[in-house]
């Protein structure tokens, strides 16, 4: 076994996979990667199944050292500076971190979360079918909390196979798509129109539980209290302050504020990648259009392994990296026409 030893990391760095199912009824939310598409891409780059566990790096920097052997890693998600012993390493490809070498990541530049895929996966004991850390519940594996300096993860030694690359993530523009309900009838039609027309900013008090939005105060004509009901990932609550709260992976499972709508699965990762201070708008889709968009997104996600290409072995030359960048172009999760790289 090789090891990946954690150096200085920001507070929001943790092991995450596609999350756990079956325990919502006990008040335990799924946890799991905030950007499922980037998780699947990081995994595709190291030959892991899409939902496998990876390391989710939050908005701050992070450092890791390989020990007892080489490990093959990949980086995918929010752009940030990445170096191995001071030499730049590009995102959206796999690479080998030799024993004793140090991977240093800077703060996120155009998003929040970057994923480190790990060839052979992370050794751990699934808790209700998942390794994902749920910090508030105190569960996850192999370490039941966010990572901290000095932690060490057992990972298989790097294989002899080729490194792989994908076109880099290019954050999509356009409004975040939602489906209205189930308590949209708590709001006057004019107020829903105001909600959809407004420019919202991600407020500082945002984390894996949920993101607060700052903007115009939204009035609930029928009041801000409902008899508590279930809460889905991406649902948008309007509490008494009139400022929306979007509930995310580590959310409470039930709540008593009216929910005006919910972000569709295809746009959840893009929303979660919006850093504090970023502005965004919402657009409402009917349920059929939303589910069609989600099916296209899922097909794109499931097709990621087939979209990878092999890199020549050895350390990448600057010419090779340049060629990769020129060939890669933009990757758009919803538009497979942007995926060719030949």
């Amino acid at each position: 076994m090789s090891r990946l030893v954690v150096g200085n990391v920001g507070p929001a760095t943790s092991v995450q996979d596609a999350g756990r199912v079956g325990v919502l009824r006990h008040g335990l939310s799924s946890a799991g990667a905030m950007d499922r598409f980037s998780l699947a891409a990081a995994n595709a780059l190291v030959g892991q199944p899409g939902p496998a566990a990876a390391i989710e790096i939050g908005p701050f920097g992070a450092r890791f050292t390989a020990a007892d052997g080489a490990v093959r890693l990949s980086l995918y998600g929010a752009a940030r500076e990445a170096t191995i012993d001071a030499a730049a390493v590009p995102l959206s490809r796999s690479f080998v971190l030799q024993a004793g070498a140090r991977l240093a990541l800077g703060p996120a530049r155009d998003g929040v979360f970057t994923y480190i895929g790990i060839e052979g996966g992370i050794a751990g004991t699934p808790v209700f079918g998942s390794l994902s850390v749920h910090a508030r519940a105190g569960i996850g594996s192999p370490i039941a909390r966010p990572l901290a300096a000095g932690d060490s993860l057992d990972v298989p030694p790097a294989s002899e196979r080729h490194d792989l690359a994908l076109p880099p993530r290019t954050p999509e523009q356009g409004p975040i798509r939602i489906v209205l309900g189930p308590q949209d009838d708590y709001f006057d039609p004019g107020e829903i129109a105001r909600f959809l027309a407004a420019e919202w900013r991600i407020a500082p008090e945002s984390d894996r539980m949920g993101y607060r939005l700052a903007g115009p105060k939204i009035a609930a004509a029928r009041g801000y209290n409902i008899v508590s009901d279930g809460i889905a990932n991406g649902q948008i609550q309007i509490p008494g302050s009139g400022q929306p709260l979007v509930l995310l992976a580590d959310r409470g499972t039930t709540g008593g504020y009216p929910k005006i709508g919910a972000i569709i699965s295809a746009d959840l990762g893009r929303f979660a990648q919006s850093p504090v201070g970023a502005s965004l708008r919402f657009a409402a889709l009917d349920i059929r259009a939303a589910q069609a968009a989600t099916r296209a997104w899922r097909a794109a996600l499931d097709g990621l392994p087939a979209r990878t290409w092999k890199l020549s072995s050895g350390a990448p030359s600057s010419e090779a990296l340049l060629a990769e960048n020129l060939a890669g172009g933009a990757i758009n999760a919803l538009d497979t026409d942007t995926w060719s790289h030949s």
């Binding site: 919502l24 508030r136 009901d229 889905a232 499972t253 919910a262 699965s265 989600t294």
Partner: protein
């Protein structure tokens, strides 16, 4: 069962929906929710991943690649119409509680508001048979129905930033057994060493929605031994005949 006129099925985004039987806290409505939950548990429809019974609605998480909203809603409506309400509880749990003092800082205030002795509030709170209407908010937090209406108390004007693990609280006509420490505007009458959710224990979760709960007032000197037992992974909550 006869579907109420308020029955409706509403999207919660593209991968979940809410089967809403009503909009109020009502044992009959909750029994309908639990009836459909049991029916779906026994014969899961295509695409259904998991369900969450709540006071008045059943939350259904599903895979929109395997099924569509309209298709699933039609199936769920038919199932709801065919399912029998589930009014009888399978399990009853007796939960030890230290009332008042530092473990129940709002007991005196609740007694004063109702012009009762603290002893009488304890008697009334521990004389009820509660039903778990919903588990949610935080892991293992049990929302209870069945509080004696004579001690129902509107929520505090100033919510607390943190209430302790095991807090036994009331808020309006609702009562609860809290598991993890969390913010709350409810009144803390006491505390139990029981942990409904404990990751290192088998089973991790003790009580389920639909189970019954009764409270047993214990002396503060009994606390330490029970808390140690709970930490060792013993349930401490006792199964008693319903």
């Amino acid at each position: 069962m006869q579907l109420p006129p308020t029955f409706r099925i509403l999207p919660c985004g593209d991968a979940a929906l809410s089967v809403e039987f009503g909009q109020t806290v009502d044992p009959a409505v909750n029994a309908q929710v639990l009836g459909l939950d049991a029916e779906l548990g026994a014969r899961p429809p295509k695409g259904v991943i998991e369900t969450v019974p709540t006071y008045r609605s059943l939350f259904v998480q599903y895979d929109p690649v395997a099924t569509g909203f309209e298709e699933l809603a039609a199936e769920l409506k038919a199932r709801a119409a065919a399912a029998a309400p589930l009014a009888k509880s399978a399990k009853r749990w007796r939960i030890p509680v230290v009332y008042g003092g530092e473990r129940g800082p709002d007991l005196d205030d609740v007694a004063r508001r109702h012009e009762l002795t603290t002893r009488e509030v304890i008697r009334r709170h521990s004389a009820c048979v509660y039903r778990i209407y919903m588990i949610g908010f935080t892991p293992g937090f049990a929302y209870l129905g069945g509080l004696d209406p004579t001690i129902a108390t509107p929520r505090r004007d100033m919510p607390r930033a943190l209430t302790p693990a095991g807090a036994i609280m009331i808020g309006g006509v609702q009562a609860c057994v809290q598991c993890l420490a969390a913010p709350s505007g409810w009144h803390i009458l006491g505390q139990t060493p029981v942990r409904n959710f404990q990751p290192s224990r088998k089973p991790v979760f003790l009580m389920a929605t639909g189970d019954e709960v009764v409270f047993d007032a214990i002396e503060p000197r009994e606390w330490a031994a029970l808390a140690r037992a709970a930490e060792r992974g013993e349930p401490v909550a006792e199964r008693v005949p319903a």
